[in-house]
Amino acid sequence: MSTEDPRGPRRPAGAPLPGAGAGASADAGPGGTVSGNRALAIEERLLFEQGEAGRCGVDLPEPANFKPRIGGTERKGAIGLPGLSEPEVVRHFTRLSQKNYAIDAGLFPLGSCTMKHNPRLNEKMARLPGFADLHPLQPESTVQGALGLMAALVDWLKALTGMPAIALPPAAGAQGELCGMMTIRAAHDAGGQDARRRVLVPESAHGTNPATAALCGYHIDPIPANARGRVDVAAMKAKLGPDVAALMLTNPNTCGLFEPDIVEIARAIHDAGAYFYCDGANFNAIVGKVRPADLGIDVMHMNLHKTFSTPHGGGGPGSGPVALAASLAPYAPLPWLVAGPAGLHLQEEATGAASGAIGRLKAFHGQMGMFVRAYTYMLSHGSDGLRQVAEDAVLAANYLLASLKDTLTPAFPGPCMHECLFDDEGLRKYDVSTLDFAKALIDEGFHPMTVYFPLVVHGAMLVEPTETEPRAELDRFIAAVKGLKARLDAGGADRLKTAPHFSPRRRLDETRAARQPVLRWSPPSR
């Protein structure tokens, strides 16, 4: 690092925004604006292009007679952080937020993501100082309520899954998978089955499944889908053998379909001495209707940030508790939540009953902030409400499927579960891609569905409305899809191929981003 101010020469105040870029000329034309803004859609520079020395968004008193005792490790030179006042910071992030779509603003039918309403009560409860302002290493006598909440959450998850043990630590779905697959490997290793190194994963699986299995030292053996979008049971059985450690199956699967042969699959897996891992990302379709334990599943992670409504927050944080069969429970990660003589206790050591524990997955005992939200959600819905959640989610997806089956081409016939899958067959004759169609939906005021996933379908469009959408919004979505199709029929394909037209940015050049990576701001001089 150099010792000069790495921000380099300051942009002259009022200079045109970099955001306005080359395209600003279009804006400045007679049909545009002189500023590049468009009324409520306001361009916003990077923080680093706005900072000024001598400006600060906090007022901190300088300590008197400061004499560092840091062994001569003082930082040399400027860091290069921009100085902004609070008004500027509030405005900056307000403007940024205005460039985002969100569930709060409209339908967000991103398949596999369960973008349901995030109740505001959950947010309020998570911010009670009695939860938010607890240090993870406080004396346990001072956190019995927090441990009690964790224990209550475990009870609910047990009842809903029918499984005897729940591991709370995993930070998200992928870490839940890791946790689950590690327990499988630990169990095999402990049982002298350490030669089992093959894991069966359907081709339709989410990328985290093979990535996770690989992290546990497993080889991935893909299993194909049948024509109905389900596991080809015969093909799966043919792959079973003494070196198979587990099957990782998503159910309902990533095509939005329930695996009707799941009991048979489970039996075959078990007969082969392997474990049945279920990716529970799609639990929303069956919560309160079906208990995974009753299907023969040995271990399943759940995404509290899907089924149990903790907000996605633009990509996280999440929480991925894992339900474990009795055979795998001894390997649950540390710490264990146990009842002790002085109340609830977090057992941090792999001793006693926990001596088989796979170890620690993260610094502390779990995503407490998400636990509070999810538990609040559970209490709000109750057992009746949760069951209704699954029913309404499935109903909404089937309604979309039925309403759009003649407009788009369904990948598989219904009924589906909580999401419905289309392919791009119906678009091809217009020379329009799934991506074009998705971008056109942006202009219509909707977040597009998940596109190009699962990989087993060409140009996949996976639509998950969730149970928190009113029928009128579903109908508006149906009308928009039909309207776009009508526009295609009327020869308007070009409009879709150049979509979106009204969003804060038009289609972005992803290739350029990857080819010439600019991954951070750098001072102009650099």
Partner: protein, 448 residues
């Protein structure tokens, strides 16, 4: 149910449109044996007021750190977070959006991630950073796995100053591969010689600064030693505020920086959600785990941002991905970015000085207690003291007086010898003088 918009009429009409007789017809694929005939045996739905009462009752059974004189640190730090931070992260457009897969309507998220990456790179003195990981501990594990990929070597050395929870997290993640972890013994006195442990197959050395006992070191000699042996140096910073005062890992020669950003972002939260910071050299970017936002232009030539280099990631690369991570700590990163924006150069550095000044005061007060010895000569906001008695029962006792005196080292190293009497105590800008005095008095009282 207040969260469910479908009415009985809606349901009837929708079933009719589908051509199904009942909702159960849609669940035909579920084996009959597994279908629950009625709701599981749990309480029924409840109103907002009732739920809030239940949650408040649980919360009331805890003592918030803010209601005690708290000197707890050891991996989680209590800082003052300006009100604007929480206000802004609650905006629905941030809170209720997903991973920015559709960049045209996610420029808000993408731009702040780019800003976050820049901030992390700047404060750590590294070239590039990712868009966050779960927490520091899992970040350290990812770093070790990355070092293995970069060096194609198997040996991982963990310093005895590495937080034992982080060390154990690394161990859990390495356990299923052919990596060999060598963990140096706990090092409260700061005596270890990691350079001497380097081998030809050493992929990386993982060291923490300040270490779990609060000690600050210049890691440049170690960095040089690593470099000469072809090993990567991974520098972990559990207390991100320290970077306002102490030379950053990049300046000391680190190859990978792993940080825990909780203190300046999401807060304490009883352990989560936290915020994993991760930065490295530009040339290692294709081995880096996690999402990255990058700059580009749109069809009109305007600057914009996208998620990029995703060929490293699970959704493209599947079993060959650099990591299995998908959901990360987005909203915590936003909180961090906002807070850092408020702090700026001046605030970030001054905050660090205040922390250190308060810790000096605390250390002096502790040192003034008969029978108590402060082990650290150089520290940021945390020191380890040796008590004349076992620390854990003492800490429990003082909790009743609303003094959280520190984290007993025995809690971090259960059953390990030589730890009983060690106490790790931390002061931040939130620590008041009267609280330091309360700590001193309480300890004096208890040791009398």
């Amino acid at each position: 149910m207040r969260y469910l918009p479908l009415t009985p009429d809606d349901r009837r009409a929708m079933l009719a449109a589908i051509g199904a007789g009942s909702v159960d017809d849609l669940f035909v694929d579920v084996p009959a044996s597994a279908r629950l005939a009625r709701p599981v045996d749990l309480p029924k739905h409840a109103g907002e007021m009732e739920v809030e009462r239940a949650l408040r009752a649980l919360a009331a059974r805890n003592v918030p750190a803010g209601e005690a004189a708290s000197f707890l640190g050891a991996g989680a730090y209590r800082h003052f977070i300006p009100a604007a931070v929480d206000h802004l992260i609650q905006r629905g457009e941030f809170l209720t959006s997903y991973t920015p897969y559709q960049p045209e309507i996610s420029q808000g998220t993408l731009q702040y991630l780019f800003e976050f990456q820049t901030q992390v790179a700047l404060i750590s003195g590294m070239e590039i950073a990712n868009a966050s990981l779960y927490d520091g501990a899992s970040g350290a594990a990812e770093a070790a796995l990355m070092a293995r990929r970069v060096t194609r070597r198997a040996g991982v050395i963990a310093s005895g100053g590495l937080h034992p929870h982080w060390r154990d997290t690394v161990a859990t993640h390495l356990n299923w591969s052919d990596a060999a972890l060598t963990a140096a013994p706990a090092d409260p006195e700061g005596k270890e010689d990691l350079a001497a442990m380097l081998r030809d197959d050493t992929a990386c050395v993982i060291v923490q600064n300040p270490d779990v006992f609060g000690r600050v070191r210049d890691l440049s000699p170690l960095a040089r030693a690593c470099q000469s042996r072809g090993a990567l140096l991974i520098v972990c910073v559990a207390e991100v505020a320290s970077l306002g005062l102490i030379a950053p890992p990049g300046d000391m020669g680190a190859d990978i920086f792993v940080g825990e950003g909780q203190g300046l972002g999401p807060g304490l939260n009883f352990g989560g959600p936290y915020l994993g910071l991760f930065a490295t050299r530009e040339r290692f970017v294709r081995q880096m785990p996690g999402r990255i936002a990058g700059e580009t232009v749109d069809a009109d030539g305007k600057r914009g941002w996208v998620l990029t280099l995703s060929t490293r990631e699970q959704h493209i690369r599947r079993e060959k991905a650099t990591s299995n991570i998908c959901t990360n700590s987005g909203l915590c990163a936003l909180a961090f970015t906002i807070h850092m924006a408020l702090l700026g150069e001046e605030g970030f550095r001054r905050l660090a000085r205040i922390n250190h000044a308060n810790a000096c005061r605390m250390a002096d007060r502790l040192a003034a207690i008969k029978g108590v010895a402060v082990l650290n000569d150089a520290f940021f906001n945390e020191v380890t003291v040796r008590l004349p008695v076992a620390a854990a029962p003492l800490v429990d006792r003082l909790a009743g007086q609303k003094v959280f005196a520190g984290v007993p080292a025995s809690r971090l190293y259960p059953g390990e010898a030589g730890m009983e009497n060690l106490l790790i105590s931390c002061a931040t800008e939130t620590t008041r003088e009267d609280e330091i005095e309360a700590l001193g008095r309480a300890l004096e009282g208890a040791l009398r």
